[in-house]
Symmetry: C2
Subunit: 492 residues, 2 copies
């Protein structure tokens, strides 16, 4: 994977190109030879694994258990829930045969027409149907509820235009599916999982998010309510980072999942589903990184500290030995550390490479520093360098990592807050939306107005945000009385 | 998931039926409505997660990194390696279309003939082809090697006859893929990973295994050597629990993966691949469990200790309080513990249910015991009960779990060792193989003899075992001089 460090396009020149280049150059992911499917490279996967580990523990603390359901879904399952099929059945990979055979010229394989499936199978775009078909056998009584299940898996949606992490035909995700005996409990669970996602985004990804509920036209296909967390990227566009759906009894009815309640009467079970995906990787990159490369929050950085020696060959044994001491001390504090004394790369190359990869803290060990009892410390978020006494360097670095984590969040929050605008004039909105930003606007609640905004400005209603004072107002487009102040933005 | 405890078929009556029933009744897995694909239920998945966690850490200690490659493989990739296509291209799920559309009667969906793929895609049966196609871009110089990659994923092989965990069309596994600059290093890696699997099987699964190398006809399609670990089930049949392949330069050549060596000359990279799958779950169940249900080694048991109170309602507060104290003490030792004071199930039902689920240690708390300062402890492996003083119960239970882990291994090893036979007479072999067992027999090294044994006895050469003294001998079938003493058995 050796590779010359090349020029990275600047964000100000072409934000979109900067992102595409950075994902590849920082070794996070690359396009595969299979249309729309990506290869997640080891460095990118290591970040995803950290995300998985933290989220998985959070889910389990709320009583969720992991399980695994089939990749393939019978075509007929998709049609059971009327809205769901509209939303998902269309663009998906269809398995029609189960065998290949050698071709006539004996130099390849062809599909064996004899091996045609009676009913086609679809690669899961999401698993509500197959899971609720299974839940039918698991749920008889209120004592079997709530049933709190999650699976980590791959899913596939045949996308026409793809971008690494943000929109790929195959992606990795977790999908939680829960069944409840009451409407209230299901609604509470849907909101609870949104809060888990929001906490994860803010505390680990250092990504401030706005929590809210989607408008009807932006809901998950088959949901009564879709809750969302919306984050702002550096170009002022919104990225939907996670959603949690209250599905009512739609899937309970579609798959006939009934339970006997305490009064021994049959009722349909209430459902939720909720998911986050490798799309979070895209959000992480887009939110914090700069023209030098990735800026990773220490909580998710696979490598938190890199130590690089600078000196003549004769001095290397001294530097190696001091580095070993510091490394051991940092590891004892639970930090991930790498000492890079490879002699086939110049120090300058290494500096740029670890900056590109977003390693939060870099220590440079030189003889002159060492003689003064110091080491040069650089923090990736601000690129500031400082000489720090070697005595107590471990505690200093640990404190610095905490500070970096907080600073990245603070910076992202300040940048976002500065671009959230109250706006009640459609003329003003149409002008300002070109520069990005989140607009809080009064909305009359009609799909008609929503469609017009989308058509005329490419912006969409991201959500009705929670915790925003809902004072009476007038819809900026139709002039009709508003039913809510909604968050409008262009989005990924 | 409430369910009456039902009769479990005895092993002696019908071992196969016992296994099928146990997997379902112990809530490990069940058949889905998709042919050959299983649902792994939360209790089964929790065991798989433990296996994953331990193996993943072991892989990483040897320098392996995780990554993720596409689920779908272009049909033409499979034909690149001549033997590989023979072994894998035939029975696999083929994606031919990427869209469904509403049918004419508007009550379902049909495949949209307009959305036919130019080249069909196959759901990965294994990923050598797509990974080596990617490695081509990652490897330029000897400095990029070794490349040590692993992925945890689902794979699909269209099996005609399936059994939960042992043989399913879709299964979960890990597949390691490494590239090296020398033949020696690749061979060493293939053997190293076999040793990782063997240690895992013996130390965690409590499953003694025989390490060896496969005969040519039993090799992985495209390998120069396949190393294997073979375990004996209680019916005397062999189960291949993991394999590690030395692939030579076959995939390097098929996908043109060349690197510049130290002398700046281009060479093809050397390859290995290695995998274990959810099949290990089947091995775990078949090797240790009994007529009462699962017997789980404590190292893999999702729940290690269950505490059950027995007493009148009036005494429950006293028992609850004592149980809370014991639970806290056990958890402080890192053990997983559940206190089950549910009042809607009889104690007898609970006893049987936790036995069925293989919880290694059960504590029963009763008032009389409590007054004597004792608690009743049952170990699942032997079903022995004992009264143990409450003082120091935590350390006692921890020690007991260690003892159970070792005892399960010892028992499996003694049972296996008693059924490994030296055999040089084909007549004797044909008679005795009916009762199962592992037979060490002299073999002339020909595929012809191997095929005859298989045809006449349904037994196969499992491997040329390592560490068996290879004295000269005469092939028991052909009478020709033997080249090796091989392990022959019927197998899963």
């Amino acid at each position: 994977m050796a590779k010359e460090l090349e020029f990275l396009t600047k964000r100000s020149e072409d934000y979109s190109k900067w992102y595409n280049e950075l994902v590849v150059k920082a070794d996070l992911a690359e396009q595969s030879d299979v249309r729309g499917c990506m290869v997640i490279k080891p460095y990118g996967y290591a970040i995803w694994e950290k995300m998985q580990g933290i989220l998985d523990a959070k889910f389990k603390l709320t009583g969720v258990q992991n399980a695994y359901f089939p990749l393939l879904i019978p075509k007929s399952f998709l049609s059971r829930e009327a809205e769901h099929v509209e939303g998902f059945a269309k663009e998906c990979a269809v398995v029609t045969h189960y065998r290949l055979k050698t071709n006539e010229t004996h130099d390849g394989v062809v599909v064996d027409p004899e091996a045609k499936l009676e009913e086609e199978l679809v690669i899961r775009p999401t698993s509500e149907t197959i899971i609720w078909n299974t839940f039918k056998n698991w749920i008889q009584s209120y004592r079997d509820l709530p049933l709190l299940i999650n699976q980590w898996c791959n899913v596939m949606r045949w996308e026409m235009r793809t971008r690494l992490f943000l929109r790929t035909s195959e992606f990795l995700w977790q999908e939680g599916h829960t069944a409840h005996s009451t409407r209230e409990e299901a609604e509470e669970r849907a909101k609870m999982m949104l809060q888990v996602y929001a906490d994860f985004a803010e505390q680990y990804m250092a990504l401030p998010v706005i929590r809210g509920v989607k408008s009807e036209s932006e809901r998950f296909a088959g949901a009564l309510d879709t809750y969302t967390i919306e984050a702002m990227m550096q170009d002022g566009k919104a990225l939907q980072a996670g959603t949690s759906h209250f599905l009512g009894q739609n899937f309970g009815k579609a798959f006939d999942v009934q339970f006997l309640n305490r009064e021994n009467k049959a009722e349909y079970a209430w459902a939720t589903s909720w998911g986050v995906s490798t799309r979070l990787m895209g959000a992480l990159v887009m939110a914090h990184s700069d023209d030098n490369g990735l800026v990773l929050p220490p909580a998710l950085a696979p490598l938190q500290v890199v130590i690089i020696p600078v000196g003549k060959p004769a001095n290397m044994p001294t530097l190696d030995s001091k580095a070993a001491e510091i490394t051991a001390g940092l590891k004892a504090l639970g930090l991930s550390v790498k000492y890079d004394n490879a002699d086939n790369k110049r120090a300058g190359f290494k500096f740029a490479d670890y900056e590109l990869r977003g390693v939060p803290v870099r220590l440079v060990l030189g003889m002159r520093d060492l003689e003064r009892g110091e080491v040069e410390v650089m923090r990736r978020d601000t690129l500031e360098k400082q000489s720090v006494p070697l005595g107590g360097i471990e505690a200093y670095v640990k404190g610095l990592l905490d500070d970096i984590q907080q600073n990245i969040y603070r910076k992202a929050k300040e940048a976002r807050d500065a671009r959230v605008y109250e706006c009640s004039s459609y003329a003003e909105f149409k002008e300002r939306i070109k520069d990005g930003g989140f607009f809080l606007c009064p909305w009359d609640g009609t799909a008609e107005t929503e469609a017009r905004i989308k058509e005329e400005t490419q912006a969409t209603i991201r959500c009705v945000p929670f915790g925003v004072e809902q004072t009476p107002g007038v819809d900026m487009v139709s002039g009709r009385p508003s039913v809510a102040r909604v968050l409008i933005a262009r989005s990924y």
